[in-house]
Structure formats: structure tokens, C-alpha cells
Amino acid sequence: MWLSIDPRSPKPVYQQVIDGVREAVAKGLLEQGDRMPSVRELAAKMTINHNTVARAYQELEREHVIEVVQGRGTFIAAAFPHPDRDERVRAIAARMRELLVEAHHLQMTDDDLMELFRVTLNEWHQERRRAHS
């Protein structure tokens, strides 16, 4: 299963579903046109509340990650040109700055940081390749 849920986590379960689907799409575990389980199927499979799953699906649909085709089901949507893309890219930069602060306090040099980024990126691509093989 491409999704794992920890109901004990302080992170709300609906947010865990949203993050899980987004991550599975980014890794290529779920691709455009793939059929998603229905709210009922996913709730029963993961033994989590169905209204919580429905709320996550609504949010994912609003974000154009999934689309509901009336009478046919729910599918992974095509890549969507986000109108607020610039704003969201700036948000990534803001998160990077938080990491820079943390790295500074761990006495990491720029080279250490870049190396860590390369290693992490490599692992990420390996995971993606595994998903496709």
C-alpha cells in the first residue's frame, strides 16, 4: 500500500491522507489516470474514519491532485498549472531558510549541506525508479 497512517500522531489523519497521496504521486507510485480507491474502500482498508477520508479527498480535488469523474470514480489528475505557483515557490525558499538556521547550529558548512542535498536527491530518484520498475 502506498499509504501509511498513524492515528496516534498529532498530525490530523485527513492531513496524513493528503500528504500520503501527494507523496505517492511525486514518487510516481500513483500516476495520472490511476484509479483511486473510493472513500469507502480506503476508509475500510486503512480502518480510519470515512468522513476523514472524504475530507482529504475534497481537499485533494480542490488542489487538482485527484479528479472525480461522475459515475466512474476518482482518478489521479493530470499535472496542473497552479496559479499561485510563484507564491508556493517562495514558501519553499522560506522552508529552506529554516533548514539553513538548523544547519548553522549543527556547524555544517555550505559543502556539507550541498552534499547532503545531493545524497537525499539521489535516494529520492532511486525510490522513484523502484516505483517504475
Partner: protein
């Protein structure tokens, strides 16, 4: 329920109950043993009558003459004994006569899925199988309101997951409103989207599970020098525990004003910490004067 009170032999068991569960939701009802959970469910079921106040179930007042309403409400209790001398299929047939909306093919499918042999005597079933049988009957009866009283007590992990799955599937398929009384907080976190906390016969909290989860926070703070008493007096601060230089501040409501106040007092560290639901209940009950020794019920 509005202004509901219930006494047993003059001893008040429930008082001042104002409670509503929106239709189609799954509400976890939690509280220590003896808090009144089962009494509350039995009132909703019409098995008991309130001494004061009014109870409405599925939009209809619950009174003495409610045969029709009671067929739309189903009660499953792990402790409840179902006719031990019946065989499984006889009990299913008996139940099918009592409920006009009985779904016979669903009952058959579920018995198969749960490995409940039709010819077995109910007295020979394990506790978990008896609970499973009750859930089969509940699902086939297609109630609008399902009341579960400690449904997972005594179940092994596999059967428990299966029972929870059946309940979720049923609620998702039919929009059944479910109320589940339990002291297994993890079940509540999985199953419920709504929550009611019962303590000593009173409801001390109710609402959306996520909202309740988000209502309490904890800050880890280090303030050099004397500890500012002003922080302890902040009405949103529930508790301050200090160990050496580090203080743990439990905050109800928004966390930022308290964090700002700490920084104004020269805090060198202000860090939010995660609080899980178990911890939140501990704090809620602590506010009600519940002592640590009594809190063992939710110790994990």
C-alpha cells in the same frame, strides 16, 4: 440530549447532559470506568428513561412508545450475552424477523467473511466471535444509529481490525450515525470524527475530534533568571511544569500569545511540542480534579 439527569437509587449517575451528535458522524464516547458511558448509551437506546430532561434520537423524541424508532437503533456490547443455546443461523433468522430492513444477503456474506459457521452453537463461540456475530446482526439490520459499547474489549488484534473495518464500511456505505463508547483511545482515533468526554456523570468536552486535538498545545520554554509568575496566571495556561531551567507549558487555545509573552520575558528557547490525544485527556481530566493514580485507565 438536553438537561438530561439520571439517578440510580437516589445516587446521581448523569447530570446536566447537553449532547448532540450530527447525523452521519462517528462519535467516540470516552471516559474512565464508572463515568456513565453505558448509562448514556442505554438512555439513547430507550432501555432506560431519563429522570429529567429530553432525549431526541434521529429527530424523534425518545419515550415509552417507540417501537418504530427502536428498530432503527442498534446496540452492540461486547459484555452482552446473546442467546447461548441458539445456533448462529437460528440467531440470524430470529434477528431477521425483528428488523423490517433486514439485508439477508449481507448477513450471509459477512458470516462467511468472518468465518462464523452457521451451525455452531453461540455458547461455543469465543468472545470475539460473539462480538463479531453482534456486528453482523447490526450491519444486516441496517440501523440509522448504531451504539457500540466497548466493542473491542477482549478481541485479538486481527478480529478487532476486522470488526472496526466492518463498522467503518457500514457507516461509509449507509451514512449510519455511530456512537462508540470505549476506553481504547486508539480505536477512537481511528474510528471517530467526533468526540464526547464523560467524567463523573458530566460531559466535560464534545466536538470535532480534530478540533479537540488542535485545542491543546505544549510549549517547551527556557527563560534565564527568575520565572515570571505572569505566565502561570495567563488564563489560557493550563499547567506549568518546571524542571531546572526547562519549563513545559500546557496551553489551551492559540499558542502564539503565550509564546510571545515568553519571548518578552527573555526566553532563549520557545519550542512547540506534540501532544497526543491520550495526553490531552489526561490534561482535561486533570483540570476536573482527577488525580494521577486514578488516571491509570488510559495508561498505555
Amino acid at each position: 440530549m438536553a438537561g438530561v439527569e439520571k439517578r440510580f437509587r437516589g445516587y446521581p449517575v448523569l447530570h446536566g447532559i447537553e449532547w448532540s451528535v450530527p447525523a452521519g458522524r462517528v462519535c467516540g464516547l470516552i471516559g474512565p470506568n464508572g463515568a456513565g458511558k453505558t448509562t448514556l448509551l442505554r438512555l439513547a437506546l430507550g432501555l432506560l428513561l431519563a429522570d429529567k430532561g429530553s432525549i431526541e434520537v434521529l429527530g424523534e423524541p425518545m419515550g415509552v412508545e417507540n417501537a418504530g424508532l427502536r428498530q432503527r437503533v442498534h446496540y452492540v456490547a461486547s459484555e452482552r450475552a446473546v442467546a447461548p443455546a441458539f445456533r448462529v443461523d437460528e440467531w440470524i433468522r430470529y434477528a431477521s424477523l425483528a428488523y423490517p430492513r433486514w439485508d439477508a444477503s449481507r448477513a450471509v456474506r459477512m458470516l462467511e467473511a468472518l468465518d462464523l459457521a452457521p451451525r455452531r452453537l453461540i455458547r461455543e463461540l469465543s468472545g470475539g466471535q460473539r462480538t463479531s456475530l453482534q456486528v453482523v446482526v447490526a450491519a444486516a439490520a441496517r440501523p440509522d444509529l448504531l451504539l457500540l459499547d466497548e466493542p473491542t474489549n477482549g478481541l485479538d488484534v486481527l478480529v478487532k481490525t476486522q470488526v472496526l473495518r466492518l463498522v467503518i464500511d457500514m457507516a461509509a456505505a449507509e451514512g449510519t450515525t455511530v456512537i462508540v463508547a470505549t476506553h481504547h483511545i486508539e480505536d477512537v482515533e481511528r474510528l471517530a470524527d467526533h468526540l464526547a468526554v464523560l467524567h463523573d456523570g458530566r460531559l466535560i468536552a464534545q466536538g470535532e475530534l480534530d478540533a479537540i486535538k488542535a485545542s491543546m498545545h505544549r510549549l517547551q520554554v527556557v527563560i534565564p533568571g527568575d520565572w515570571p509568575a505572569e505566565i502561570d496566571q495567563d488564563p489560557s495556561v493550563v499547567r506549568v511544569e518546571r524542571q531546572g531551567k526547562v519549563a513545559l507549558i500546557t496551553v489551551e487555545g492559540p499558542i502564539e500569545p503565550v509564546a510571545t509573552r515568553c519571548r518578552a520575558h527573555g526566553a532563549v528557547l520557545v519550542e512547540p511540542l506534540d501532544l497526543d490525544l491520550t495526553e490531552i485527556f489526561r490534561i482535561m481530566l486533570g483540570k476536573e480534579g482527577y488525580t494521577r493514580a486514578q488516571l491509570q485507565w488510559n495508561a498505555r
